[in-house]
């Protein structure tokens, strides 16, 4: 099996040089996501002004899939409204769990994030991809801790 499908260049690149890694000072929302199965952890700090996500960063440790997904997610939602970000969370969940191509997901998430679709073939890795998104959802909803269990 060719693992290049799962580990596409963009994913490896985000893993190697994660964007928005660290902490947002003056964050007004935050959440930690845990994957108890593998011990992965992502700590999100988010700053919202009005209904806009003006800044977001992530910290923690995880595999290439979870790191790349967190990195891409922070880039994608920065500048979006809270409502748009929540819609993207839903679209992402749909994308990684559905069988075929979902054109509307691609429209919402963009090509780069769609590169994570390879996890569909690797059920145990789906949680790695969704961890950061669950944390985003929790932060926006005001919960502080989430797990993928």
């Amino acid at each position: 099996m060719d693992l290049r499908e799962l580990y596409q260049e963009v994913i490896l690149d985000h893993n190697k040089r994660p964007r928005n890694k660290g902490k947002v000072i003056n964050a007004n929302r935050h959440a930690e996501g845990y994957n108890p199965l593998c011990g992965d952890m992502v700590a999100l700090t988010v700053k919202t002004e009005g209904d806009k996500v003006t800044d977001i960063a992530f910290d923690g440790q995880g595999c290439a899939i979870s790191t790349a997904s967190a990195s891409m997610m922070t880039e994608a939602v920065k500048g979006k409204t809270v409502e748009e970000a929540e819609e993207m969370f839903k679209a992402f969940q749909k994308m990684v769990t559905s069988q075929g191509v979902e054109p509307e997901c691609e429209d919402q998430l963009g090509e780069e994030i769609m590169s994570l679709a390879g996890v569909r073939e690797h059920p145990v890795r789906i949680k790695c991809a969704t961890l950061a998104w669950h944390a985003l959802h929790a932060a926006l909803q005001g919960e502080e801790k989430v797990t993928t269990e």
Binding site: M1, D2, L3, L6, Y7, L12, N15, K16, L37, C38, G39, D40, Q61, G62, C63, A64, I65, T67, H122, R125, C128
Partner: protein, 531 residues
Amino acid sequence: MSLRISEHTACRAIEPSLRNIPKGLRCPAQGFLPWVSTATTIPNPEGVAYLRSNSSQVRFPTSQTNMTVAQQPPIELGQTIRNDFPILSVIARGKPLVYLDNAATSQKPLAVIEALDEYWTEANANVHRGVHFLSERATERFETARETVRRFVNAGDTNEIIFTKGCTEGINLVSTGLQRHSAGLSARSTKGNADPNSPLPKINPGDVILVSAMEHHSNLVPWQMLAQQTGAIVKPIPITEVGEIDLEAYAQLLRDNRVKVVAIVHISNSIGTINPVKQILAMAHKAGAITLVDGAQAGPHWLVDVQDLDADFYTLSCHKIYAPTGIGVLYGKRHLLEALPAYQGGGSMVRTVSFQETSYAEIPAKFEPGTPNIAGVVGLGAAIEYLESLSEALPFVRMVRAGEGEGVGDAGSGSRQKLQNTMHAIHQHELLLANRATQLLSEIPGVNLIGTAAEKAGIVSFTINGVHPHDIGSILDGEGIAIRAGHHCCMPLMTRYSIPATARASFALYNTLEEADALAAGVRKVKEMFT
């Protein structure tokens, strides 16, 4: 010196349909011991015999009185017996399966699969209950397996063997019994108090339970629960950087006169260290503590001798010993099992029952309430018999360490001797593969080996700089190579090494040198992808 295989053995090995062959020697259509069919032996001055067959030539070290296993490793073990394990021919992700996750669970030889099949088709009934033919047959097989297990761990008494659903349950059985004993409950009935002359310690607030820093969660959490209930404290025995028990620190911990229990893993599932349990237990006993050994990883790869170790309790996880899942063994010294309050109540564990009081049956029944995993136990018996049979079938297994045991260079007559031969050969074989893997991996820049104790089993744990173990696992999986990535149920050990997880390859008797090479090649591929 020449090497002989009796015609009888050869014929049993090549003719699977022969009805009277022991299970362990029955085999897939063609394949088992291909070289035996036309075997002739050629004496050879180096002490190595060549067995010729139509298809292959295999080289075996012959038995020599002064030969040590280290000098003549039985490197063909994996190649020769692979065909006994049908699952090993699975194609995984389009590649031949390389199964290196044996510490998680082992694969099952055909002998075990057939024994299960036979049990379900010819012997299934409840045990210890019926007066009818099938029930007697099932009971007979069940109890025969108990005797086989007694031999396997060299217990003095068959009643000291308790069947559980796994290693985890065995440990919980002991910790729960100690909790009830500490609460003053009787070990004999649902009424009455603990025997004041009980050989078991009462665990009081402030008492200490020692475990090592490399315990599996199953030999840690039950003790934490006991501590929670009794007010005792669980303390870790520290380990050194290479992953060995710090014996000085341990001696220091024992000096505190409050140590009541020492619970220690025999072989670490995470880093492969073989702990000097005999010494550790002797020190514990001297300090007045009772002892439990988690033998989950020792059972499959090491000759266990509970009497020689002087273990009070010893637990096995049988799905790791080539037997089915859902079966475990707890060994306990007779007087301690008798003094231990019951774990679960129900049918079969009672002597007399009334609404006023129920008195318990004798061991082992006292600890085996309800219908047991009969098929699992039968499969376990078959797995151990398979190991014993290897000693007979594989000439090169007839090696014991020079000077050890009777009959050096001889298959020996007793089952115990056969087991000794097989288990030594398995250990040496796995060590050879692990050493090869360790050597090859250490040549790859950026690879860190975790756990480099002097005494190790066939377990290789490692990390790669900048690559998470899960990614290592996924990429190797793409090559058909099965390893484990994670904390291996040893979170405190990961904390000790300041890492979230490791990648772990664990070898078994059926693995080959080629598979160790495949692992290293796979790891190079991981590196390529991530740099």
